[in-house]
Symmetry: C2
Subunit: 271 residues, 2 copies
């Protein structure tokens, strides 16, 4: 089993509850990465509605940081329709007075294989230099005593996008790069829930370094991804009022737009 | 009181429940308009967290059509934070075995006046001909015996965007026009929740007429709108697998991007 599958696994405890053990390997900034946590939730929902295996849309509201260790995902089916089941889910951690939901989410699941095969995507696939010409950079400062999120996946950016590491952001508010999980684990509909939240915040490219906590993240999974490297692009158009929106799109190796997401995040505080 | 305010009103019944009377004036396609219903929910949430009066983000999953008449909005605060409260809410209709949630939603509310005043919007405001040069069209076939959604607001499109009415869509998958509510009711943060879902589906502009039911709609309210006409644009980039995403942006009379939304909708069936 690839490490990713072990890290997003959970066990049914009955009555819609799933027990998970959150991995320290996804630590970043103030807690565990939000895309990782979303896949843990998405994977539990999938067990609750096994005849509807694919997340079509999932919306998560982040209430507090997730931390390594035990967690419970509660699920509550709101409607079982013919083609789609809609489920409310929460990720809980803590005991006693410290217990509380860290994420609350809604999702609609279905079977992507049964949907229409008509594709009229007008979005244009963005181009990147070949993988081997892109820089593999560790984006989180490594601490030899701690696991690093950078070891969970490979992310390769065109050299001209890496100026922010030397204090020279492009000012465009955009990142695009190649992505694949560790162990050569191929992408699937669940891993796409992580992929949309693993690039550095686009505010880095606007000269605003620092942790940018997600408030809300909605992902639409539009097709099952083909095996191979994914192309991921993040961009923002509206940094205002202490917040910014970040759109992500994910294209698979077959040239299909397989996922679209938008999140609302808090602007990093000046450091 | 403007008709819009009367139509989105609800009365607290205690324990987080709010009683509403859904207006037949918002009938369209298979039920009541989704943007109208979202404002009913949004208005009830606002009563539940009065110190956090502004929707910052709201995500709604549409489970079944809303119909004119009594409805209950249930609210459940998931977290009261210092700057933001996050609330789960559902719109229920029906009695006995027919009772069920029509919409399930999550929202984060805050006070937009207390947020940062920094604005670095890189999105460019789209241009439209002056209001008086745009066509005021009734978009729903009027039935003299029935109330029409077209009487609830004014929507004016540049003449070159109206080709779909004569079977000549532009094929771009985009609509942009001027908007204001009936009675000259000025826009506010709640009415923005409706505005993002009141244009015809962009699929009309792709030569796919027909009802396009919303599955999921997330709205980010980024600023309080200034009085006057709003500019609204809808567009899609990915019609595939029987679904399409529709992005909306709303600009106010002061030239500020006040709301951004994305929805996932079912593609109209061939007629």
């Amino acid at each position: 089993m690839a490490e990713y599958d072990a890290q997003i696994a959970s066990t049914s405890k009955g009555e819609g509850l799933y027990a998970a053990d959150l991995s320290p390997g996804w630590s970043v900034g103030g807690g565990l990465n939000g895309g990782y946590l979303l896949a843990v939730i998405g994977n539990a929902i999938r067990q609750e509605v096994p005849d509807k295996p694919d997340p079509i849309s999932i919306s998560a509201y982040y209430l507090g940081p997730g931390t390594p260790g035990p967690a419970t995902v509660s699920t509550n089916v709101r409607r079982r329709g013919g083609s789609v089941a809609t489920v409310a889910a929460e990720l809980w951690q803590g005991d006693g007075e410290a217990a509380g939901p860290r994420i609350t989410a809604l999702a609609s699941y279905g079977d992507l294989d049964t949907l229409g095969s008509d594709v009229r995507t007008t979005a244009e696939e963005f181009s990147l230099p070949p993988v081997e010409e892109c820089a593999a950079r560790r984006l989180v400062t490594p601490d030899p005593d701690q696991p690093s999120m950078s070891d969970r996946f490979e992310l390769r950016f065109p050299p001209e996008q890496m100026g922010w590491l030397q204090g020279e952001p492009t000012g465009r508010g955009e990142f695009a790069g190649w992505f694949r999980l560790a162990d050569g684990r191929e992408p699937d509909v669940i891993s796409l829930l992580s992929v949309v939240d693993l690039l550095p915040p686009v505010t880095f490219d606007l000269g605003m370094p620092g942790w940018a906590p997600t408030m809300e993240l909605t992902v639409h999974v539009r097709a099952k991804p083909a095996p191979g490297w994914l192309k991921v692009r993040h961009s923002t158009r509206n940094v205002a009022g202490g917040m910014f929106e970040e759109d992500a799109e994910v294209w698979d190796s077959a040239g299909r737009l397989v996922a679209q997401s938008r999140q609302l995040a808090r602007q990093p505080r000046p450091q």
